[in-house]
């Protein structure tokens, strides 16, 4: 019953918000973007002031009445101060920290006070996310990373950023809800698979993908070459006087693999993405260079955090419109 009434109301409210405060990556908290209402304590404070007014009348006590008026006036002044604590702040969407679907990601919000007064004790959160508190001093720009749960793969719109402040007196809360046009990115869930959906290997170097699974295996000893990392040196043999040798592993840096969407026929798309994700992580861990082929997209082979990031981003955005 209640829900039946509430749902259209909420929709109306959202539509109204969207008209009043359209999405933008940079917004200044101006008068039309700030709402202000008393908190529970503010209502309690007003109640006490009202009681004192009645008391003042009944005891014909002007001073009690004056105190009641002073409280009322203080409350009204507090409206201005609470408003000021939020007003003028420049809110910008910052960077994003993707996560795997089902886990958490984080979005960066930058708060810039380019005016001459501090903005203290601001509470920020995405709908459903935890609250972060931050204070911004004059001329300062603060970066806040706000975590949010990632429910599904792809671009995740976090909803409206909720900024609230009760400073200075806590009797009023000023808040704003901004659409920061700042989507989060959810990589696919990693799903392990036995079979590596990789094609080819490198023709020049002749590395077979079947060798991959054992690429960390110990292959033998070879004579030490300058530049071999000390952990690869066979110190035991050296101590026994057999000379300086390096342990020889299947060399991971010799070729590259193409992780390929097309290698998993008959598997549904999300599972394919999940498996590819798992393999990207695996290959990265094993220092194996890899490329990625998706329908309509290709990432040239490479290695390193940058490569992993690009591969995962590509997987996350598969099937989504390019922003």
């Amino acid at each position: 019953m209640l829900a039946a009434v509430r749902a259209p109301l909420q929709r109306r409210y959202r539509q109204w918000l969207a008209r009043r405060m359209p999405a933008s990556r940079q917004q200044r908290l101006t008068q039309q973007r700030i709402f202000i209402l008393p908190t529970r304590y503010g209502l309690f404070f007003l109640l006490i002031a009202a009681l004192l007014f009645l008391g003042g009348i009944n005891y014909e006590n002007n001073l009690i009445m004056a105190l009641s008026f002073l409280m009322t006036s203080l409350f009204m002044i507090a409206i201005l101060h609470t408003f000021r604590n939020l007003a003028g702040l420049l809110v910008r969407a910052g960077q994003l920290e993707p996560g795997h679907a089902g886990a958490e990601g984080a979005l960066e919000i930058l708060l810039h006070a380019d005016d001459r007064h501090p903005h203290l004790s601001l509470w920020l959160r995405w709908p459903g996310g935890p609250v972060e508190e931050v204070s911004v001093l004059p001329g300062e720009e603060k970066s806040v990373w706000l975590r949010l749960p990632l429910k599904r793969r792809g671009r995740v719109h976090p909803g409206r950023l909720h900024i609230e402040s009760r400073y200075p007196l806590g009797l009023l809360r000023a808040w704003s809800q901004l659409d920061m046009a700042h989507p989060a990115l959810a990589w696919p869930r990693a799903a392990p698979s036995e079979f590596c959906p990789a094609s080819g290997g490198d023709a020049e170097q002749g590395l077979q993908h079947t060798r991959l699974a054992g690429s960390d295996d110990f292959q033998g000893l070879r004579s030490y070459q300058p530049g071999d990392p000390p952990r690869m040196v066979d110190w035991k043999a050296y101590a026994r006087g057999r000379g300086l040798h390096s342990k020889y592993f299947a060399d991971p840096a010799e070729g590259w693999l193409w992780l390929d969407w097309a290698m998993m026929p008959g598997v549904d798309p999300e599972t394919r993405l999940s498996r590819l994700t798992w393999w990207v992580l695996q290959l990265e861990q094993k220092n194996q260079r890899y490329g990625l082929r998706l329908p309509g997209a290709e990432l040239p082979p490479g290695l390193g955090p940058e490569q992993q990031r690009q591969a995962l981003d590509l997987l996350a955005l598969y099937g989504e419109e390019v922003a």
């Binding site: 002007n62 409280m71 009322t72 101060h81 009760r166």
Partner: protein, 686 residues
């Protein structure tokens, strides 16, 4: 056990100071257990905050709360009513300090603190008390930003400064509300408990039974004169009269033959005006022509009595006050609050008051069997004197010439109080002399009565007003002389004239404050300070405490003309807008970045001047390039520009303080006299 809420350390001081200060005034008059409870809870909270004590458990809290309830019941006999209620509130408030577990509790404590603070005004209303309350409120308010700013780096004094700024901004608005919000009459009647001590006069006196007259410095009332101030010997503030004597005790009495309606006249009441009142009213103008008229305003401290004090034959302008047949003022209800009233007194009107048989009978009444010696002497002396006037003078002369002494600690008297006093002890204070004199008059057949009230008063030159203290309390007599009416006779004046002329301080050797007063005499500036403070108190009383429905009405009529709810509403809205606007502008105007330095202004001025000459120059030009660009467009100016540029650069960037702004301005002025770049032409759009 729940985790203890840690008040941020920078807020804790304000929180404790605010709550302690809010409760402190109640400790002064509160019961002993409350006096112990509050410091104990404050100490407890400090220890809890430091982690030295655990939070009190639920059982302990319930026990404490129960104890507080019992304590209140024990002290006040009830938990209702303002006294008990305040006591309970303060105690519960103190306990709340202990059980502050969450942020919410801190809020509740602080907001309750405002309430507790307000109850201070039930007991103290002076300007000092109000300042104290304001200061406590500042501390409470300073705690609020503290608990709202959980960061460790915050500074305690910043909270205080913020609270101060906000309160200062709130004060004008408060004053507006104070003046404009309509005063309504009490919604329901609330009375203070009657146990509270009554001060001042009582409604009877028994001179023989008092061996010690305690005299306090407490203020009885203040009087502000409009025009002439009566000389000290004429300052007899009449409160009530004692007409009935039972041999030991003089009491107030209304002759049985006279009805209540005939006894008191309330000018505003619909009942018919008594004849005597009509006579007095009719004779007012004539009396004014014969003698002085005093117009004044009395600010009466709460006495919890219904009689008021005024010079003889007073007419008040207050509808709640009435004139009594024995020429004094009464109020319909007891004075539990300070009250001020305007009075016009006509001393010459005494003679116009008619004497009725019933009045005469009660003014001659004497119990049989008491004081035979005095009776005998009275009859004898009256015979010898021949007239009431001569007899009274002889009696006064006798008081003066025989060895009668004025003392505040007379011996106790036995059954025949007047005989024993006149022919035995001969030591006493005003009551003894008044009693003996009135007895002697009545015994000789002259109508007489005792008047109780205050005599004298200290003139405060700062505000042209009198302060009348409890130690000015006095008793004297009035005798009725045909043709003159009731005449004031003060037998004490015959014994100790200085008591009347100089005030009672001479007799106050025992008062610990007497020394202090002596010091005040010696230090004129201290006396002056005291006078000033008294004046402040008086003004406070007049403008703040006594600002009521009627004064509001007259004030608003003067300002707004017609007083209607709509007008008051409009005035409130307009006033609030006018008062809030500067604050709003101050608070809300965004001031971006730091202001310009003189050097930066100089640079801007140069840019503007060059552009005014038609030069096209962009904003991002550093000084050297500005000089080059401008020099290119205006070759004639190049040498001066170069000098200006070098001076500017050295001063602003080179860290050479030597280059003065004046030199820069001089170069710029030189440019003004140069001919324009391209004849002043510049590209203009369109």
């Amino acid at each position: 056990m729940a985790r203890v809420y840690q008040v941020p350390h920078h807020a804790f001081g304000w929180l404790v100071a605010g709550t302690f200060m809010a409760a402190l005034p109640h400790l002064i008059h509160g019961p002993l257990w409350l006096r112990i409870l509050l410091p104990a809870t404050v100490l407890g909270r400090i220890l809890i905050q430091r982690g030295r004590l655990p939070m009190p458990g639920r059982v302990l809290r319930v026990i404490l709360l129960g104890g507080v309830l019992l304590g209140t019941l024990y002290t006040h006999g009830t938990v209702l009513g303002p006294d008990a209620g305040t006591c309970l509130l303060v105690a519960a408030f103190a306990l709340k300090l202990l059980e502050m577990v969450r942020l919410r509790d801190a809020y509740v404590l602080l907001v309750l603190g405002y309430f507790v603070l307000a109850t201070t005004f039930l007991f103290y209303q002076g300007p000092i008390a109000s300042l104290y309350v304001l200061l406590s409120m500042l501390c409470l308010t300073a705690a609020l930003p503290g608990i709202n700013h959980p960061e460790a780096g915050a500074r305690a004094w910043r909270h205080f400064r913020l609270a101060l700024v906000m309160l200062l901004q709130a004060v004008p608005l408060m004053l507006l509300l104070f003046v404009l919000v309509p005063r309504i009459s009490p919604l329901w009647s609330l009375e203070f408990s009657q146990e509270r001590s009554r001060t001042g006069m009582s409604d009877s006196m028994a001179p023989g039974e008092v061996s010690h007259l305690s005299q306090s410095r407490e203020l009885a009332f203040r009087v502000e004169f409009e025009g002439a101030v009566p000389p000290p010997a004429a300052r007899y503030w009449r409160g009530l009269t004692y007409a009935w004597f039972d041999g030991r005790r003089w009491s107030q009495a209304r002759p049985q033959e006279i009805s209540q309606a005939d006894y008191v006249w309330f000018p505003a009441s619909p009942q018919p005006r008594p004849d005597w009142a009509a006579t007095l009213v009719a004779a007012r103008d004539e009396a004014a022509a014969r003698g002085p008229v005093y117009r004044y305003r009395v600010v009466q401290e709460p006495s919890r009595r219904n009689w008021l004090y005024a010079l003889a034959v007073p007419f008040a302008d207050d509808t709640r006050l009435g004139l009594v047949r024995d020429l004094r003022l009464v109020s319909r209800e007891e004075l539990n609050q300070r009250r001020d009233y305007r009075v016009t007194s006509y001393p010459a009107l005494r003679s116009s008051m008619p004497m009725s048989p019933a009045d005469e009978a009660i003014s001659l009444q004497l119990p049989e069997g008491f004081n035979p010696r005095a009776r005998e002497m009275a009859r004898r002396w009256y015979r010898e004197a021949g007239s009431a006037e001569a007899y009274a003078n002889r009696l006064l002369r006798w008081f003066r010439e025989e060895s009668f002494y004025y003392t505040l600690e007379p011996p106790l008297l036995g059954e025949h109080t007047v005989d024993e006093f006149l022919f035995g002890s001969r030591r006493g204070f005003c009551e003894h002399y008044a009693s003996a004199f009135a007895f002697m008059m009545r015994a000789a057949g002259v109508p007489a009565r005792i008047v109780a009230g205050y005599q004298g008063g200290e003139l405060n030159p700062v505000g042209n007003h009198l302060r009348v203290h409890q130690y000015h309390a006095h008793a004297w007599t009035e005798i009725w002389l045909p043709g003159s009416g009731w005449v004031e006779v003060d037998p004490t004046a015959a014994v100790a004239p200085s008591r009347i002329e100089m005030g009672p301080e001479a007799a106050l050797q025992d008062d610990p404050l007497a020394d202090f007063q002596g010091i005040m005499r010696d230090l004129p500036w201290l006396q002056q300070l005291s006078n000033r403070f008294d004046y402040v108190q008086f003004i406070w009383q007049k403008w703040v405490l006594d600002y009521d429905e009627s004064s509001q009405l007259s004030l608003l009529q003067r300002w707004l003309g017609d007083v209607s709810p709509a007008r008051i509403g409009m005035a409130l809205a307009a006033g609030a807008a006018v008062l809030l606007m500067p604050v709003a502008l101050w608070v809300l105007l965004r001031r971006r970045g730091p202001g310009r330095t003189p050097m930066q202004r100089e640079y801007r001025a140069m840019l503007k001047q060059l552009r005014g000459r038609g030069l096209v120059l962009s904003d991002d030009l550093p000084p050297r390039r500005l000089v080059r660009e401008a020099g290119g467009q205006w070759p004639a100016a190049r040498p001066v520009l170069k000098k200006w540029g070098r001076a500017f650069e050295e001063s602003v960037y080179g860290g050479q303080a030597g280059t003065s702004l004046r030199a820069l301005r001089r170069y710029r002025r030189q440019l003004r006299w140069l001919r324009g770049a391209r004849g002043g032409q510049h590209v203009s759009p369109g």
